[in-house]
Amino acid sequence: MSALYLVAVGNVPDKVWRWITNATAEWFPLPIKHLAGLSVPATAFDPKRKQYQSVDIMRLLAEYAPPDATRILGVTEVDLSIPMLSFLFGQAQLDGKVAVVSLCRLQQQFYGLPAQDDVLRERLTKEVLHEMGHTFGLVHCSEQKCAMSLSTHIGMVDTKSEQYCDRCGSQLAQRFASLDGGV
Protein backbone atom coordinates (compact mmCIF):
# COMPACT_ATOMS: atom_id res chain seq x y z
CA MET A 1 0.00 0.00 0.00
CA SER A 2 1.23 3.50 -0.81
CA ALA A 3 2.45 5.56 2.14
CA LEU A 4 2.99 9.05 3.46
CA TYR A 5 6.73 9.67 3.82
CA LEU A 6 8.18 12.11 6.31
CA VAL A 7 11.65 13.50 5.80
CA ALA A 8 13.85 16.07 7.52
CA VAL A 9 15.56 18.63 5.30
CA GLY A 10 18.52 19.75 7.41
CA ASN A 11 18.51 19.49 11.18
CA VAL A 12 15.11 18.89 12.68
CA PRO A 13 14.55 18.08 16.39
CA ASP A 14 13.33 14.53 17.01
CA LYS A 15 10.31 15.64 19.04
CA VAL A 16 8.52 17.05 16.00
CA TRP A 17 8.07 13.62 14.36
CA ARG A 18 5.81 12.44 17.16
CA TRP A 19 3.68 15.55 16.83
CA ILE A 20 3.46 15.19 13.06
CA THR A 21 2.67 11.47 13.24
CA ASN A 22 -0.17 12.14 15.69
CA ALA A 23 -1.58 14.96 13.56
CA THR A 24 -1.44 13.10 10.27
CA ALA A 25 -2.63 9.72 11.60
CA GLU A 26 -5.87 11.32 12.78
CA TRP A 27 -6.83 12.66 9.35
CA PHE A 28 -5.04 10.61 6.72
CA PRO A 29 -5.63 6.84 6.69
CA LEU A 30 -2.19 6.07 5.29
CA PRO A 31 0.83 4.17 6.57
CA ILE A 32 3.43 6.70 7.73
CA LYS A 33 7.09 6.00 6.95
CA HIS A 34 10.25 7.90 7.74
CA LEU A 35 13.06 8.50 5.28
CA ALA A 36 16.66 9.33 6.07
CA GLY A 37 17.13 13.08 6.33
CA LEU A 38 18.37 15.28 3.48
CA SER A 39 20.79 18.17 3.57
CA VAL A 40 19.39 21.54 2.69
CA PRO A 41 20.41 22.10 -0.95
CA ALA A 42 22.96 24.89 -1.21
CA THR A 43 21.41 26.02 -4.50
CA ALA A 44 18.23 26.92 -2.64
CA PHE A 45 19.99 29.59 -0.60
CA ASP A 46 19.40 33.21 -1.60
CA PRO A 47 22.30 35.18 -0.07
CA LYS A 48 20.59 38.56 -0.57
CA ARG A 49 17.51 37.50 1.36
CA LYS A 50 19.26 34.98 3.61
CA GLN A 51 16.39 32.61 2.93
CA TYR A 52 15.86 29.36 1.06
CA GLN A 53 13.79 29.02 -2.11
CA SER A 54 11.06 26.52 -1.30
CA VAL A 55 10.75 25.61 -4.99
CA ASP A 56 14.25 24.06 -4.91
CA ILE A 57 13.47 22.10 -1.75
CA MET A 58 10.15 20.87 -3.21
CA ARG A 59 11.99 19.75 -6.34
CA LEU A 60 14.51 17.83 -4.22
CA LEU A 61 11.71 16.14 -2.27
CA ALA A 62 9.92 15.13 -5.48
CA GLU A 63 13.10 13.44 -6.73
CA TYR A 64 13.71 11.78 -3.36
CA ALA A 65 10.20 10.30 -3.01
CA PRO A 66 10.23 6.46 -3.20
CA PRO A 67 7.95 4.84 -5.82
CA ASP A 68 5.35 3.88 -3.20
CA ALA A 69 5.12 7.41 -1.79
CA THR A 70 1.64 8.76 -2.27
CA ARG A 71 2.75 11.91 -0.49
CA ILE A 72 6.08 13.18 0.84
CA LEU A 73 6.24 15.83 3.56
CA GLY A 74 9.52 17.62 4.19
CA VAL A 75 10.16 19.47 7.44
CA THR A 76 12.93 22.02 7.74
CA GLU A 77 14.19 24.64 10.14
CA VAL A 78 15.34 27.03 7.42
CA ASP A 79 13.33 30.10 6.48
CA LEU A 80 11.44 29.53 3.22
CA SER A 81 10.41 31.98 0.53
CA ILE A 82 9.54 32.30 -3.12
CA PRO A 83 10.72 35.18 -5.36
CA MET A 84 7.45 37.06 -5.06
CA LEU A 85 6.82 36.62 -1.34
CA SER A 86 8.96 37.58 1.61
CA PHE A 87 8.37 34.29 3.42
CA LEU A 88 6.30 31.12 3.57
CA PHE A 89 5.26 28.94 6.51
CA GLY A 90 5.12 26.07 4.07
CA GLN A 91 4.25 25.13 0.54
CA ALA A 92 2.54 22.27 -1.27
CA GLN A 93 1.65 21.08 -4.73
CA LEU A 94 -2.11 21.51 -5.04
CA ASP A 95 -3.44 18.00 -5.58
CA GLY A 96 0.14 16.83 -5.92
CA LYS A 97 2.64 14.70 -4.08
CA VAL A 98 4.99 17.10 -2.31
CA ALA A 99 4.67 19.42 0.67
CA VAL A 100 7.17 21.23 2.86
CA VAL A 101 6.75 22.98 6.20
CA SER A 102 9.27 25.33 7.82
CA LEU A 103 9.67 25.44 11.59
CA CYS A 104 11.55 28.73 11.38
CA ARG A 105 8.65 31.19 11.78
CA LEU A 106 6.56 28.82 13.87
CA GLN A 107 9.06 29.02 16.73
CA GLN A 108 8.63 31.65 19.44
CA GLN A 109 12.38 32.42 19.23
CA PHE A 110 11.84 33.94 15.78
CA TYR A 111 9.75 36.65 17.41
CA GLY A 112 12.27 37.23 20.22
CA LEU A 113 10.37 35.15 22.75
CA PRO A 114 11.52 32.15 24.79
CA ALA A 115 10.95 28.74 23.16
CA GLN A 116 7.62 27.06 23.99
CA ASP A 117 7.14 23.47 22.91
CA ASP A 118 3.35 23.48 23.26
CA VAL A 119 3.06 26.55 21.02
CA LEU A 120 5.40 25.06 18.43
CA ARG A 121 3.49 21.75 18.46
CA GLU A 122 0.17 23.49 17.90
CA ARG A 123 1.47 25.68 15.10
CA LEU A 124 3.26 22.82 13.41
CA THR A 125 0.17 20.60 13.56
CA LYS A 126 -1.89 23.34 11.91
CA GLU A 127 0.64 23.94 9.14
CA VAL A 128 1.13 20.23 8.48
CA LEU A 129 -2.65 19.77 8.15
CA HIS A 130 -2.77 22.86 5.95
CA GLU A 131 -0.06 21.82 3.49
CA MET A 132 -1.13 18.17 3.46
CA GLY A 133 -4.70 19.36 2.81
CA HIS A 134 -3.45 21.15 -0.31
CA THR A 135 -1.85 17.95 -1.57
CA PHE A 136 -5.29 16.32 -1.31
CA GLY A 137 -6.87 19.09 -3.36
CA LEU A 138 -8.19 21.35 -0.60
CA VAL A 139 -7.89 25.06 -1.26
CA HIS A 140 -7.98 27.89 1.30
CA CYS A 141 -11.07 27.89 3.43
CA SER A 142 -13.03 30.98 4.40
CA GLU A 143 -13.72 29.50 7.85
CA GLN A 144 -11.10 31.25 10.05
CA LYS A 145 -10.87 28.38 12.51
CA CYS A 146 -10.27 25.77 9.82
CA ALA A 147 -6.72 24.50 9.34
CA MET A 148 -7.16 25.28 5.64
CA SER A 149 -7.66 29.00 6.17
CA LEU A 150 -4.90 31.17 4.74
CA SER A 151 -2.28 32.43 7.21
CA THR A 152 -0.18 35.36 6.10
CA HIS A 153 1.24 36.06 9.56
CA ILE A 154 1.77 34.09 12.74
CA GLY A 155 -1.27 35.61 14.43
CA MET A 156 -3.46 33.98 11.78
CA VAL A 157 -1.81 30.61 12.43
CA ASP A 158 -2.61 31.00 16.13
CA THR A 159 -6.26 31.83 15.33
CA LYS A 160 -6.77 28.53 13.50
CA SER A 161 -7.67 25.30 15.23
CA GLU A 162 -5.78 22.03 14.90
CA GLN A 163 -8.49 20.55 12.71
CA TYR A 164 -10.38 20.94 9.48
CA CYS A 165 -13.84 22.48 9.41
CA ASP A 166 -16.76 20.13 8.66
CA ARG A 167 -16.75 21.01 4.96
CA CYS A 168 -13.00 20.51 4.41
CA GLY A 169 -13.01 17.42 6.62
CA SER A 170 -15.81 15.80 4.69
CA GLN A 171 -14.21 16.75 1.37
CA LEU A 172 -11.07 15.00 2.54
CA ALA A 173 -13.01 11.97 3.77
CA GLN A 174 -14.83 11.76 0.45
CA ARG A 175 -11.51 11.86 -1.34
CA PHE A 176 -10.25 8.88 0.62
CA ALA A 177 -13.56 7.03 0.31
CA SER A 178 -13.84 7.46 -3.45
CA LEU A 179 -10.24 6.68 -4.28
CA ASP A 180 -9.91 3.85 -1.81
CA GLY A 181 -6.16 3.79 -1.53
CA GLY A 182 -5.41 5.36 -4.89
CA VAL A 183 -5.07 8.80 -3.33
Partner: protein, 450 residues
Protein backbone atom coordinates in the same frame (compact mmCIF):
# COMPACT_ATOMS: atom_id res chain seq x y z
CA UNK B 1 -12.39 26.84 -7.35
CA UNK B 2 -12.71 30.57 -7.96
CA UNK B 3 -12.80 29.92 -11.68
CA UNK B 4 -14.71 33.05 -12.46
CA UNK B 5 -11.65 35.11 -11.65
CA UNK B 6 -8.69 33.71 -13.58
CA UNK B 7 -5.29 35.23 -12.90
CA UNK B 8 -2.26 35.55 -15.21
CA UNK B 9 1.34 35.76 -14.00
CA UNK B 10 3.82 37.12 -16.54
CA UNK B 11 7.54 36.85 -15.80
CA UNK B 12 10.57 35.70 -17.76
CA UNK B 13 11.81 33.79 -14.68
CA UNK B 14 10.16 30.39 -14.61
CA UNK B 15 10.62 29.99 -10.87
CA UNK B 16 8.88 33.30 -10.20
CA UNK B 17 5.93 32.40 -12.45
CA UNK B 18 5.47 28.90 -11.13
CA UNK B 19 5.92 29.68 -7.43
CA UNK B 20 3.50 32.61 -7.60
CA UNK B 21 1.01 30.54 -9.59
CA UNK B 22 1.26 27.68 -7.09
CA UNK B 23 0.68 30.06 -4.19
CA UNK B 24 -2.40 31.58 -5.83
CA UNK B 25 -3.76 28.16 -6.81
CA UNK B 26 -3.74 27.21 -3.14
CA UNK B 27 -6.25 29.99 -2.74
CA UNK B 28 -8.50 28.33 -5.33
CA UNK B 29 -7.78 30.55 -8.31
CA UNK B 30 -7.27 29.35 -11.81
CA UNK B 31 -3.81 30.67 -12.68
CA UNK B 32 -1.99 30.72 -16.03
CA UNK B 33 1.59 31.78 -16.59
CA UNK B 34 3.43 33.37 -19.51
CA UNK B 35 7.20 33.82 -19.93
CA UNK B 36 6.90 36.99 -22.03
CA UNK B 37 4.58 39.76 -23.13
CA UNK B 38 3.68 38.24 -26.48
CA UNK B 39 2.45 35.00 -24.94
CA UNK B 40 0.64 36.94 -22.23
CA UNK B 41 -1.32 38.91 -24.83
CA UNK B 42 -2.14 35.71 -26.75
CA UNK B 43 -3.48 34.14 -23.55
CA UNK B 44 -5.45 37.28 -22.74
CA UNK B 45 -7.16 37.05 -26.12
CA UNK B 46 -8.77 33.76 -25.15
CA UNK B 47 -9.21 34.24 -21.39
CA UNK B 48 -10.81 37.13 -19.57
CA UNK B 49 -8.25 37.49 -16.76
CA UNK B 50 -9.43 39.37 -13.71
CA UNK B 51 -5.88 40.15 -12.60
CA UNK B 52 -2.55 40.08 -14.47
CA UNK B 53 0.67 40.20 -12.46
CA UNK B 54 3.26 41.52 -14.94
CA UNK B 55 6.99 41.82 -14.27
CA UNK B 56 8.29 45.22 -15.26
CA UNK B 57 11.61 44.08 -16.67
CA UNK B 58 11.56 41.26 -19.19
CA UNK B 59 14.55 40.97 -21.52
CA UNK B 60 13.85 41.04 -25.26
CA UNK B 61 10.44 41.88 -26.68
CA UNK B 62 7.86 43.77 -24.70
CA UNK B 63 8.58 45.11 -21.23
CA UNK B 64 5.97 45.13 -18.47
CA UNK B 65 4.42 48.49 -19.39
CA UNK B 66 4.08 47.54 -23.07
CA UNK B 67 2.64 44.17 -22.08
CA UNK B 68 0.13 45.88 -19.82
CA UNK B 69 -0.93 48.23 -22.60
CA UNK B 70 -1.39 45.36 -25.05
CA UNK B 71 -3.37 43.36 -22.48
CA UNK B 72 -5.57 46.40 -21.91
CA UNK B 73 -6.12 46.66 -25.63
CA UNK B 74 -7.69 43.17 -25.68
CA UNK B 75 -9.04 43.16 -22.11
CA UNK B 76 -9.77 46.71 -20.98
CA UNK B 77 -11.31 45.47 -17.73
CA UNK B 78 -8.27 43.42 -16.62
CA UNK B 79 -6.50 44.75 -13.51
CA UNK B 80 -2.77 44.79 -14.16
CA UNK B 81 -0.34 44.76 -11.25
CA UNK B 82 3.19 45.70 -12.20
CA UNK B 83 5.91 43.84 -10.31
CA UNK B 84 9.47 44.97 -10.01
CA UNK B 85 12.51 44.13 -7.96
CA UNK B 86 13.60 47.76 -7.80
CA UNK B 87 11.39 50.54 -6.57
CA UNK B 88 11.82 53.78 -8.41
CA UNK B 89 9.33 56.58 -8.21
CA UNK B 90 9.53 57.26 -11.95
CA UNK B 91 8.59 53.78 -13.08
CA UNK B 92 5.87 53.56 -10.48
CA UNK B 93 4.37 56.82 -11.73
CA UNK B 94 4.69 55.70 -15.34
CA UNK B 95 3.03 52.35 -14.60
CA UNK B 96 0.12 53.97 -12.81
CA UNK B 97 -0.25 56.60 -15.54
CA UNK B 98 -0.43 53.91 -18.19
CA UNK B 99 -3.22 52.18 -16.33
CA UNK B 100 -1.68 49.78 -13.81
CA UNK B 101 -3.99 49.04 -10.92
CA UNK B 102 -1.07 48.63 -8.52
CA UNK B 103 2.70 48.66 -8.46
CA UNK B 104 4.43 46.26 -6.10
CA UNK B 105 8.02 45.59 -5.22
CA UNK B 106 9.06 41.98 -4.80
CA UNK B 107 9.44 40.28 -2.47
CA UNK B 108 6.11 41.20 -0.96
CA UNK B 109 4.63 40.31 2.35
CA UNK B 110 2.09 37.49 1.69
CA UNK B 111 -0.54 39.49 3.54
CA UNK B 112 -0.02 42.43 1.20
CA UNK B 113 -0.58 40.29 -1.90
CA UNK B 114 -3.48 38.42 -0.36
CA UNK B 115 -5.23 41.67 0.58
CA UNK B 116 -4.47 43.23 -2.79
CA UNK B 117 -5.97 40.30 -4.68
CA UNK B 118 -9.05 40.13 -2.49
CA UNK B 119 -9.54 43.92 -2.69
CA UNK B 120 -9.37 43.88 -6.50
CA UNK B 121 -11.67 40.88 -6.78
CA UNK B 122 -14.15 42.34 -4.31
CA UNK B 123 -14.30 45.42 -6.52
CA UNK B 124 -14.71 43.29 -9.63
CA UNK B 125 -17.47 41.31 -8.00
CA UNK B 126 -19.27 44.53 -7.10
CA UNK B 127 -18.81 45.80 -10.65
CA UNK B 128 -20.15 42.54 -12.03
CA UNK B 129 -23.15 42.60 -9.65
CA UNK B 130 -23.74 46.20 -10.61
CA UNK B 131 -23.73 45.25 -14.29
CA UNK B 132 -26.20 42.43 -13.61
CA UNK B 133 -28.48 44.73 -11.66
CA UNK B 134 -28.29 47.36 -14.39
CA UNK B 135 -29.08 44.70 -16.96
CA UNK B 136 -31.96 43.52 -14.83
CA UNK B 137 -33.30 47.05 -14.56
CA UNK B 138 -32.98 47.72 -18.25
CA UNK B 139 -34.13 44.28 -19.34
CA UNK B 140 -37.58 45.64 -19.95
CA UNK B 141 -36.21 48.09 -22.48
CA UNK B 142 -34.27 45.61 -24.50
CA UNK B 143 -35.54 43.54 -27.29
CA UNK B 144 -32.72 41.07 -27.50
CA UNK B 145 -33.47 39.74 -24.03
CA UNK B 146 -35.90 37.47 -25.84
CA UNK B 147 -33.49 34.64 -26.44
CA UNK B 148 -34.28 32.59 -29.47
CA UNK B 149 -33.13 31.15 -32.74
CA UNK B 150 -36.53 29.68 -33.49
CA UNK B 151 -37.81 31.00 -36.84
CA UNK B 152 -41.34 31.51 -35.53
CA UNK B 153 -40.10 33.46 -32.50
CA UNK B 154 -37.87 35.53 -34.78
CA UNK B 155 -40.93 36.36 -36.89
CA UNK B 156 -42.75 37.40 -33.73
CA UNK B 157 -39.86 39.64 -32.68
CA UNK B 158 -39.85 41.27 -36.12
CA UNK B 159 -43.60 41.79 -35.81
CA UNK B 160 -43.24 43.45 -32.39
CA UNK B 161 -40.87 45.97 -33.97
CA UNK B 162 -43.29 46.67 -36.81
CA UNK B 163 -46.25 47.25 -34.53
CA UNK B 164 -44.35 48.94 -31.70
CA UNK B 165 -45.36 52.49 -32.54
CA UNK B 166 -48.95 51.78 -33.54
CA UNK B 167 -51.81 52.29 -31.11
CA UNK B 168 -53.62 49.14 -32.22
CA UNK B 169 -54.67 46.70 -29.56
CA UNK B 170 -52.64 43.51 -29.40
CA UNK B 171 -53.79 40.11 -28.20
CA UNK B 172 -51.00 37.77 -27.19
CA UNK B 173 -51.94 34.11 -26.93
CA UNK B 174 -49.82 31.35 -25.54
CA UNK B 175 -49.58 28.80 -22.80
CA UNK B 176 -48.54 29.85 -19.31
CA UNK B 177 -44.85 30.63 -19.07
CA UNK B 178 -44.28 31.25 -22.78
CA UNK B 179 -43.26 34.88 -22.19
CA UNK B 180 -46.40 36.85 -23.02
CA UNK B 181 -45.45 39.71 -20.73
CA UNK B 182 -41.92 39.79 -22.15
CA UNK B 183 -43.34 40.23 -25.64
CA UNK B 184 -45.77 42.90 -24.41
CA UNK B 185 -42.83 44.77 -22.88
CA UNK B 186 -40.88 44.39 -26.11
CA UNK B 187 -43.77 46.00 -28.02
CA UNK B 188 -44.10 48.86 -25.53
CA UNK B 189 -40.42 49.64 -25.03
CA UNK B 190 -39.60 49.50 -28.75
CA UNK B 191 -42.19 52.07 -29.69
CA UNK B 192 -42.85 55.75 -29.19
CA UNK B 193 -44.56 55.10 -25.85
CA UNK B 194 -41.37 53.69 -24.33
CA UNK B 195 -40.83 56.71 -22.08
CA UNK B 196 -44.39 56.47 -20.77
CA UNK B 197 -45.72 53.97 -18.21
CA UNK B 198 -46.10 50.26 -18.85
CA UNK B 199 -48.70 49.05 -16.39
CA UNK B 200 -49.34 45.37 -15.75
CA UNK B 201 -52.67 44.09 -14.43
CA UNK B 202 -53.16 40.44 -13.69
CA UNK B 203 -56.89 40.03 -14.27
CA UNK B 204 -57.04 36.52 -12.82
CA UNK B 205 -55.56 37.57 -9.50
CA UNK B 206 -58.44 39.83 -8.41
CA UNK B 207 -62.16 39.50 -7.77
CA UNK B 208 -64.56 41.36 -10.05
CA UNK B 209 -65.07 44.26 -7.64
CA UNK B 210 -61.39 44.63 -6.85
CA UNK B 211 -60.41 44.40 -10.48
CA UNK B 212 -62.94 47.08 -11.39
CA UNK B 213 -61.54 49.55 -8.87
CA UNK B 214 -58.00 48.48 -9.78
CA UNK B 215 -58.61 49.21 -13.47
CA UNK B 216 -60.76 52.31 -13.26
CA UNK B 217 -59.92 53.76 -9.85
CA UNK B 218 -62.52 55.00 -7.39
CA UNK B 219 -63.90 58.13 -5.82
CA UNK B 220 -63.96 58.94 -2.14
CA UNK B 221 -66.85 57.12 -0.49
CA UNK B 222 -67.40 54.74 -3.40
CA UNK B 223 -67.29 51.87 -0.94
CA UNK B 224 -66.36 51.23 2.68
CA UNK B 225 -62.73 52.12 3.12
CA UNK B 226 -62.55 54.40 0.05
CA UNK B 227 -61.21 57.36 2.01
CA UNK B 228 -59.95 59.30 -0.96
CA UNK B 229 -59.90 59.39 -4.74
CA UNK B 230 -57.59 56.77 -6.22
CA UNK B 231 -56.51 56.58 -9.82
CA UNK B 232 -56.92 53.27 -11.60
CA UNK B 233 -54.42 51.50 -13.80
CA UNK B 234 -55.92 52.98 -16.95
CA UNK B 235 -55.26 56.47 -15.66
CA UNK B 236 -51.79 55.53 -14.45
CA UNK B 237 -51.00 54.16 -17.91
CA UNK B 238 -52.10 57.36 -19.65
CA UNK B 239 -49.82 57.98 -22.61
CA UNK B 240 -48.35 54.49 -22.28
CA UNK B 241 -49.49 50.90 -22.36
CA UNK B 242 -51.68 48.78 -20.12
CA UNK B 243 -50.98 45.06 -20.19
CA UNK B 244 -54.05 43.05 -19.24
CA UNK B 245 -52.82 39.59 -18.41
CA UNK B 246 -55.23 36.63 -18.28
CA UNK B 247 -57.91 38.66 -20.03
CA UNK B 248 -59.92 35.46 -20.60
CA UNK B 249 -60.70 35.38 -16.89
CA UNK B 250 -62.61 38.63 -16.53
CA UNK B 251 -66.31 38.70 -15.66
CA UNK B 252 -69.07 39.58 -18.16
CA UNK B 253 -69.62 42.97 -16.47
CA UNK B 254 -65.95 43.88 -16.76
CA UNK B 255 -65.95 42.65 -20.33
CA UNK B 256 -68.67 45.22 -21.06
CA UNK B 257 -66.77 47.99 -19.24
CA UNK B 258 -63.58 47.14 -21.04
CA UNK B 259 -65.33 47.14 -24.38
CA UNK B 260 -66.45 50.72 -23.68
CA UNK B 261 -62.89 51.79 -22.85
CA UNK B 262 -61.64 50.18 -26.03
CA UNK B 263 -64.28 51.90 -28.11
CA UNK B 264 -64.23 55.32 -26.53
CA UNK B 265 -61.03 55.51 -24.47
CA UNK B 266 -63.23 56.93 -21.72
CA UNK B 267 -64.54 55.54 -18.45
CA UNK B 268 -65.86 56.45 -15.01
CA UNK B 269 -64.06 55.82 -11.77
CA UNK B 270 -66.01 53.54 -9.44
CA UNK B 271 -68.55 55.73 -7.63
CA UNK B 272 -67.73 58.66 -9.91
CA UNK B 273 -69.82 60.83 -12.24
CA UNK B 274 -66.99 62.47 -14.09
CA UNK B 275 -65.78 60.84 -17.28
CA UNK B 276 -62.05 60.21 -17.47
CA UNK B 277 -60.37 60.21 -20.87
CA UNK B 278 -57.11 58.43 -21.47
CA UNK B 279 -54.68 57.70 -24.28
CA UNK B 280 -53.67 54.11 -23.54
CA UNK B 281 -52.51 51.31 -25.74
CA UNK B 282 -53.97 48.00 -24.67
CA UNK B 283 -52.08 44.76 -24.89
CA UNK B 284 -54.03 41.78 -23.62
CA UNK B 285 -52.83 38.25 -23.07
CA UNK B 286 -54.44 34.93 -22.39
CA UNK B 287 -53.64 31.26 -22.21
CA UNK B 288 -57.24 30.45 -23.02
CA UNK B 289 -58.68 29.66 -26.41
CA UNK B 290 -60.72 32.83 -26.78
CA UNK B 291 -62.51 31.86 -30.02
CA UNK B 292 -63.73 28.79 -28.21
CA UNK B 293 -64.72 30.88 -25.16
CA UNK B 294 -66.66 33.11 -27.56
CA UNK B 295 -68.38 30.10 -29.10
CA UNK B 296 -69.34 28.89 -25.66
CA UNK B 297 -70.70 32.31 -24.76
CA UNK B 298 -68.15 32.89 -22.03
CA UNK B 299 -66.39 35.78 -23.73
CA UNK B 300 -67.99 38.64 -25.62
CA UNK B 301 -67.49 38.33 -29.35
CA UNK B 302 -67.35 42.12 -29.86
CA UNK B 303 -64.68 42.45 -27.17
CA UNK B 304 -62.70 39.59 -28.71
CA UNK B 305 -62.62 41.32 -32.09
CA UNK B 306 -61.72 44.64 -30.46
CA UNK B 307 -58.82 42.99 -28.69
CA UNK B 308 -57.73 40.81 -31.55
CA UNK B 309 -56.65 43.61 -33.89
CA UNK B 310 -53.11 42.26 -33.94
CA UNK B 311 -52.75 38.71 -32.74
CA UNK B 312 -49.49 37.16 -31.60
CA UNK B 313 -49.45 33.45 -30.89
CA UNK B 314 -46.46 32.38 -28.84
CA UNK B 315 -45.22 28.84 -29.37
CA UNK B 316 -44.85 26.53 -26.40
CA UNK B 317 -41.30 25.66 -25.40
CA UNK B 318 -41.72 22.10 -26.69
CA UNK B 319 -42.30 23.66 -30.12
CA UNK B 320 -39.01 25.57 -29.98
CA UNK B 321 -36.70 22.85 -28.70
CA UNK B 322 -33.71 24.48 -30.38
CA UNK B 323 -34.02 27.33 -27.87
CA UNK B 324 -33.64 25.10 -24.81
CA UNK B 325 -29.79 25.06 -24.81
CA UNK B 326 -29.65 28.84 -25.39
CA UNK B 327 -32.19 29.58 -22.69
CA UNK B 328 -30.61 27.11 -20.28
CA UNK B 329 -27.15 28.69 -20.68
CA UNK B 330 -28.66 32.14 -20.30
CA UNK B 331 -30.46 31.17 -17.09
CA UNK B 332 -27.35 29.45 -15.68
CA UNK B 333 -25.31 32.59 -16.24
CA UNK B 334 -27.91 34.95 -14.86
CA UNK B 335 -29.15 32.93 -11.90
CA UNK B 336 -25.68 31.82 -10.77
CA UNK B 337 -24.61 35.48 -10.71
CA UNK B 338 -27.74 36.53 -8.88
CA UNK B 339 -27.33 33.78 -6.30
CA UNK B 340 -23.58 34.34 -6.06
CA UNK B 341 -22.91 30.67 -6.80
CA UNK B 342 -20.11 29.67 -9.11
CA UNK B 343 -21.85 27.50 -11.66
CA UNK B 344 -20.37 28.04 -15.07
CA UNK B 345 -22.24 25.77 -17.43
CA UNK B 346 -24.40 22.82 -18.19
CA UNK B 347 -23.15 19.45 -19.38
CA UNK B 348 -24.30 17.81 -22.65
CA UNK B 349 -25.88 14.96 -20.64
CA UNK B 350 -27.87 17.46 -18.59
CA UNK B 351 -28.99 19.24 -21.75
CA UNK B 352 -30.23 15.92 -23.06
CA UNK B 353 -32.45 15.58 -20.00
CA UNK B 354 -33.80 19.08 -20.53
CA UNK B 355 -34.46 18.43 -24.22
CA UNK B 356 -36.43 15.30 -23.36
CA UNK B 357 -38.72 17.05 -20.90
CA UNK B 358 -42.17 18.16 -22.07
CA UNK B 359 -42.11 21.62 -20.37
CA UNK B 360 -45.80 22.08 -19.59
CA UNK B 361 -44.81 25.25 -17.70
CA UNK B 362 -42.72 26.43 -20.66
CA UNK B 363 -39.84 28.94 -20.30
CA UNK B 364 -40.85 29.86 -16.76
CA UNK B 365 -40.65 26.22 -15.76
CA UNK B 366 -37.22 25.93 -17.39
CA UNK B 367 -36.05 28.98 -15.45
CA UNK B 368 -37.31 27.51 -12.17
CA UNK B 369 -35.76 24.13 -12.92
CA UNK B 370 -32.37 25.74 -13.62
CA UNK B 371 -32.60 27.77 -10.41
CA UNK B 372 -33.37 24.67 -8.36
CA UNK B 373 -30.48 22.81 -9.99
CA UNK B 374 -28.07 25.70 -9.30
CA UNK B 375 -29.11 25.85 -5.66
CA UNK B 376 -28.36 22.15 -5.16
CA UNK B 377 -25.40 21.89 -7.58
CA UNK B 378 -22.15 21.01 -5.84
CA UNK B 379 -19.45 20.98 -8.47
CA UNK B 380 -19.66 24.14 -10.53
CA UNK B 381 -21.24 22.49 -13.57
CA UNK B 382 -24.86 21.41 -13.90
CA UNK B 383 -24.88 17.72 -14.71
CA UNK B 384 -27.43 15.03 -15.40
CA UNK B 385 -27.84 14.18 -11.70
CA UNK B 386 -28.75 17.79 -10.91
CA UNK B 387 -31.92 17.18 -12.91
CA UNK B 388 -32.62 13.61 -11.82
CA UNK B 389 -35.71 14.79 -9.93
CA UNK B 390 -37.02 16.20 -13.20
CA UNK B 391 -36.73 12.81 -14.86
CA UNK B 392 -38.51 11.18 -11.93
CA UNK B 393 -41.25 13.79 -12.06
CA UNK B 394 -41.78 13.20 -15.75
CA UNK B 395 -41.67 9.44 -16.31
CA UNK B 396 -44.54 9.29 -18.73
CA UNK B 397 -47.25 11.57 -19.96
CA UNK B 398 -49.47 12.45 -17.03
CA UNK B 399 -52.94 12.22 -18.51
CA UNK B 400 -55.72 14.00 -16.77
CA UNK B 401 -58.96 13.04 -18.47
CA UNK B 402 -61.81 15.40 -17.67
CA UNK B 403 -65.28 14.03 -17.14
CA UNK B 404 -66.73 15.05 -20.53
CA UNK B 405 -68.36 13.25 -23.50
CA UNK B 406 -65.97 11.44 -25.82
CA UNK B 407 -66.83 13.78 -28.71
CA UNK B 408 -65.80 16.77 -26.60
CA UNK B 409 -62.45 15.14 -25.90
CA UNK B 410 -61.94 14.62 -29.62
CA UNK B 411 -62.92 18.21 -30.32
CA UNK B 412 -60.41 19.48 -27.71
CA UNK B 413 -57.66 17.28 -29.13
CA UNK B 414 -58.26 18.71 -32.59
CA UNK B 415 -58.32 22.32 -31.35
CA UNK B 416 -55.11 21.74 -29.38
CA UNK B 417 -53.36 20.10 -32.35
CA UNK B 418 -54.37 22.98 -34.61
CA UNK B 419 -53.08 25.48 -32.07
CA UNK B 420 -49.78 23.71 -31.72
CA UNK B 421 -49.38 23.60 -35.50
CA UNK B 422 -50.48 27.21 -35.93
CA UNK B 423 -53.58 26.24 -37.91
CA UNK B 424 -51.69 24.02 -40.35
CA UNK B 425 -54.19 21.25 -41.16
CA UNK B 426 -51.62 18.99 -42.78
CA UNK B 427 -49.35 19.04 -39.74
CA UNK B 428 -52.27 18.85 -37.30
CA UNK B 429 -53.70 15.78 -39.07
CA UNK B 430 -50.29 14.11 -38.99
CA UNK B 431 -49.99 14.87 -35.26
CA UNK B 432 -53.47 13.43 -34.64
CA UNK B 433 -52.71 10.33 -36.73
CA UNK B 434 -55.61 10.87 -39.16
CA UNK B 435 -55.65 11.92 -42.79
CA UNK B 436 -56.43 15.43 -43.90
CA UNK B 437 -59.91 14.71 -45.29
CA UNK B 438 -60.92 13.07 -42.00
CA UNK B 439 -59.70 16.12 -40.14
CA UNK B 440 -61.68 18.41 -42.44
CA UNK B 441 -64.80 16.29 -41.77
CA UNK B 442 -64.25 16.60 -38.06
CA UNK B 443 -63.62 20.33 -38.27
CA UNK B 444 -66.95 20.69 -40.01
CA UNK B 445 -68.73 18.38 -37.57
CA UNK B 446 -67.42 20.19 -34.50
CA UNK B 447 -67.73 23.62 -36.14
CA UNK B 448 -64.10 24.41 -35.49
CA UNK B 449 -62.76 27.41 -37.38
CA UNK B 450 -59.07 27.42 -38.17
Amino acid sequence: MKKNWPILVVDDEDVMCESMAAWLREDGYRVDTAPNGQQAVELAKSTDYAICFVDLKMPGGMDGIETMMEIHRVRPEASVIIITAYATVDTAIQAMKEGAQEYIVKPCNPQEISMLVSRILKLKKLQSENAILRKKLTRQYRHHDVITKNPRMEEILALTQEIASLRSTVLIRGESGTGKELIARAVHFSGNRAEKPFIVVSCAALTETLLESELFGYEKGAFTGATGQVKGKFELADGGTIFLDEIGDISPKLQADLLRVLQERRFYRVGGNEEVQVDVRIIAATNKNLPQEVQQGKFREDLYYRLNVIEIRLPALRERLEDIPLLAEHFVQRISSELGKEVHGISPAALKVLMAHDWPGNVRELENVIERAIVTCRNGMLDEQDFSWLQRANPQQNWEIPDVPLGELERRAIVAALERKHGNVKEASAALGIDRSTLYDKLKRYEISH
